[in-house]
């Protein structure tokens, strides 16, 4: 299954679920990465980490490891 960490620029994707075993699970949800939301990769920092996504009309930067816990449809 594809995760948010594997998105390419300009590709729109919908969140299926967030891995609830990830230590930052709750915070990832709270910032707005919830099932059904559409996200788009906007930029990658050097070493491809962290990643910035468009989400609910704003931009949120999260680490690659956190993006890997976001499963896409």
């Amino acid at each position: 299954m594809k995760t948010a960490a594997e998105l390419t620029f300009g590709e729109l994707a919908t969140i299926d679920e967030v891995d609830n075993s990830h230590p930052s699970f709750r915070r990832i949800l709270e910032i707005g990465f919830t099932p059904g939301q559409q996200i788009e990769l906007l930029s990658k920092s050097i070493f491809n980490d962290p990643l910035a996504f468009s989400l609910r009309g704003t931009m949120v930067a999260i680490r690659r490891g956190e993006a890997q816990s976001i499963k896409l449809l």
């Binding site: 915070r27 919830t34 962290p50 468009s54 704003t58």
Partner: protein
């Protein structure tokens, strides 16, 4: 009981970037104060309401949170004090700010507060930005859906404040008549399981209360576009922000721009602050002169001039640099750029156990460690926060500059000023590299040094780029400067006075032959004799054995001890001990002359050589010398462990590194 606690408590709550501070500034009047809690990141601003609003209540601004579920020990304290504030008690009313174009995220907090049975008013902010996208929020509908009061406020002109005020007054009046329910702390597990439900609900609410603005004059067109009317808001970040971030967050150019802009920030701080610092320095020197003239040459005259006035000067001399740094940082923060900086630098910093959020505190450390340590409060992860606090004293703060300037002047002839700049840059580079190394090593041994393990994460909203608001930047700058003055001021002044006493007593009135001396020459000679026979010199001779291996003697030892007040005191201590006299103009060159002539006591060997001077520079790069930093580190970490480890480890490294530098250089033939 505190008299403030009798007044109703109205607390502002909101996610970061939701316009909470703007609202606080619009509402707050006199009696503005900041309340900190030791050992934690909590910082509440409190104030009364502006008089014209005629509301007699305490207004509290709480730290930005996105949910009532704590994710770190410090957030837990923040949320606990929301339920029961130690000074102001349970809020009578909570005002929640939500960004109009972020309803589907920001309403989460409002929902959770309602769940906890708080009495709340929702304030919808940034309606202008939503308006530009062609949408508006229907406050009436939102009121019905949430079942609480809703007010729209335009932060630019304060429109809507009147309505908010009347709602607040009404609620306070009602509460006078009937007691309100006390809020109940929601169970974490239940709340977590409700997260998705909450989101579903607020997504639904958002789609129903946000409506497309239909221009009145174009009713026919409006009818045509009726099918668009109920279309939900298109969630797209600000397009200008996306465009700018293609450059600023570019994986290569982004980092390049970042380093260039940080370089510019630094150099401009030095150039802007230097004349102001000199001004402060000179004014206090002349003030001390006036005091001596007025009180005459007596012990209390000396105490006022050299003890009190000079130590006040020692505190205030850093204010220009701190002011300028926080002004620039504040503007960068307010534009939204600093969040990008944190994202760009997160990966490299995470390699040494730090976090992208450590970056701003570390940067502030180049001005002064005190506001820098306080700035580390923004790091939610406790381990990373403590580690950041741990390495901040290694950042080359402004108090080291006068010391380096003197030592470099010894090494480089006056004509070759370019070399001096080159050496100074090299010292900065050296201190940055060594602090990275130290951080990496401390991170390796964090189990015994930091003693905290915490889930490391970096989840940061990148706010829309915008023009900075002068008022909020000024207020933050003012707060940081006040923190420095409060944190460092009393310690620097207190310790300076102790040090003055150590150099003044017991031989307060030494006998000196008055032959061929003017009165002021006589008093200068007395001053020097007094120091040579003072407690300080006894102390210095006591530590002589420690100083010998690094090529120094007791006089340098005493100066190094003095530097514990604040590093730049080293220079004036050297001047005192090496019997340098003269006016302010010539004092620097006189110290240099005295240093060139100084011999290690009882021998013919020169005390200051290129080797020992380089050794001293190395010592100042590492040593933990600032007592105020120790005090603030103790307060912020909640125990003595970390500051004591900082003293032992950094001063230990400094001593060993100096030993290696001095003796290594001598081995290769550089005396």
């Amino acid at each position: 009981m505190n008299k403030d606690s009798v007044l109703p408590n109205i607390t502002l709550v909101g996610p970061p970037n939701s316009g909470k501070t703007t609202l606080f500034n619009l509402l707050s009047g006199k009696n503005h104060k900041t309340i900190n809690y030791p050992g934690s990141t909590i910082e509440y601003n409190s104030s009364g309401f502006q008089e014209k609003y005629n509301i007699n209540a305490n207004l509290l601004d709480s730290p930005g949170i996105i949910s009532l579920l704590p994710n770190s020990p410090d957030e837990e304290v923040t949320i606990d004090s929301l339920y029961e504030h130690p000074e102001f008690g349970t809020p009578n009313l909570i005002i929640v700010t939500v960004d109009a174009s972020q309803l589907s995220r920001h309403l989460l907090l409002a929902e959770q507060l309602i769940d906890s049975k708080f009495k709340i008013i929702v304030v919808v902010t940034m309606i202008d930005i939503l308006g530009k996208k062609g949408y508006k929020v229907c406050a009436k509908d939102l009121e019905k859906k949430l079942n609480c009061d809703v007010v729209k406020i335009d932060g630019r002109n304060g429109k809507g404040i009147g309505k908010l005020i009347s709602k607040i007054s009404l609620i306070l009046e009602e509460q006078k008549l009937s007691a309100t329910d006390k809020p109940i702390k929601i169970d974490e597990e239940i709340c977590e399981s409700k997260l998705l439900k909450h989101f579903k609900k607020i997504e639904q609410i958002e789609s129903e209360v946000i409506k497309k603005i239909v221009p009145d004059e174009n009713i026919i067109e409006a009818n045509k576009s009726l099918n668009v009317l109920n279309q939900p808001l298109q969630h797209k970040p600000d397009s200008l922000t996306i465009k700018l971030d293609r450059i600023f967050l570019h994986r290569f150019w982004g980092l390049f721009i970042f380093f260039i802009s940080m370089g510019v920030v630094f150099t401009s701080i030095f150039w802007l602050a230097l004349p102001l610092m000199e001004l402060v320095d000179e004014s206090f020197a002349s003030l001390a002169g006036i005091a001596t003239d007025y009180f005459g040459y007596s012990w209390y005259g000396d105490f006022i001039a050299d003890g009190i006035i000079s130590s006040l000067g020692a505190v205030l001399v850093f204010v220009p640099q701190i002011l300028i740094l926080f002004l620039i940082l504040g503007f960068l923060e307010d534009t939204g750029y600093l969040a990008r900086g944190a994202m760009l630098i997160d990966k490299p910093l995470s390699k040494i156990g730090l976090n992208g959020r450590s970056f701003v505190p570390m940067l502030s450390g180049f001005a002064c460690a005190i506001p820098a340590i306080l700035a580390a409060r923004t790091i939610s992860n406790r381990k990373e926060r403590l580690l950041t606090i741990f390495i901040i004293p290694l950042m080359s703060c402004s108090a080291r500059l006068p010391v380096y300037a003197l030592l470099i002047a010894f090494l480089v002839p006056k004509e070759e000023i370019i070399w001096a700049g080159f050496i100074l840059s090299f010292i900065y580079l050296f201190s940055i590299i060594s602090s990275v190394l130290v951080a990496a090593i401390v991170n390796k041994f964090r189990k015994s040094i930091i003693r905290e393990e915490d889930n490391s994460s970096f989840i940061l909203e990148l706010p829309t780029y915008k023009m900075p608001k002068v008022k909020s930047v000024l207020r933050n700058t003012y707060t940081s400067t006040k923190q420095y003055l409060r944190g460092a001021g009393p310690i620097i002044i207190g310790f300076s006075i102790v040090l003055w006493m150590l150099t003044y007593f017991p031989n307060t009135n030494p006998n000196i032959s008055t032959e061929n001396l003017t009165q002021s020459e006589y008093h200068e000679a007395q001053k020097i004799e007094r120091v040579a026979t003072s407690y300080a010199s006894d102390l210095g001779r006591f530590i002589q054995p420690i100083m010998e291996p690094i090529g120094m003697d007791w006089r340098v030892g005493v100066s190094l001890i003095s530097a514990f007040v604040a590093r730049e005191v080293f220079v004036s201590a050297l001047a005192l001990i090496f019997k340098v006299t003269g006016d302010e103009e010539t004092i620097r060159s006189s110290i240099l002359q005295a240093m060139r002539n100084a011999k290690i006591e009882g021998t013919d060997q020169k005390l200051f050589t290129p080797a020992t001077i380089l050794g001293l520079i190395v010592f100042f790069v590492f040593a933990m010398q600032c007592l105020s930093t120790v005090a603030v580190a103790k307060k912020e970490t909640g125990s003595w462990r970390i500051p004591i480890l900082q003293i032992v480890i950094y001063t230990g490294i400094a001593y060993i590194a100096t030993f290696i530098t001095v003796n290594g250089l001598r081995l290769v033939g550089i005396a």
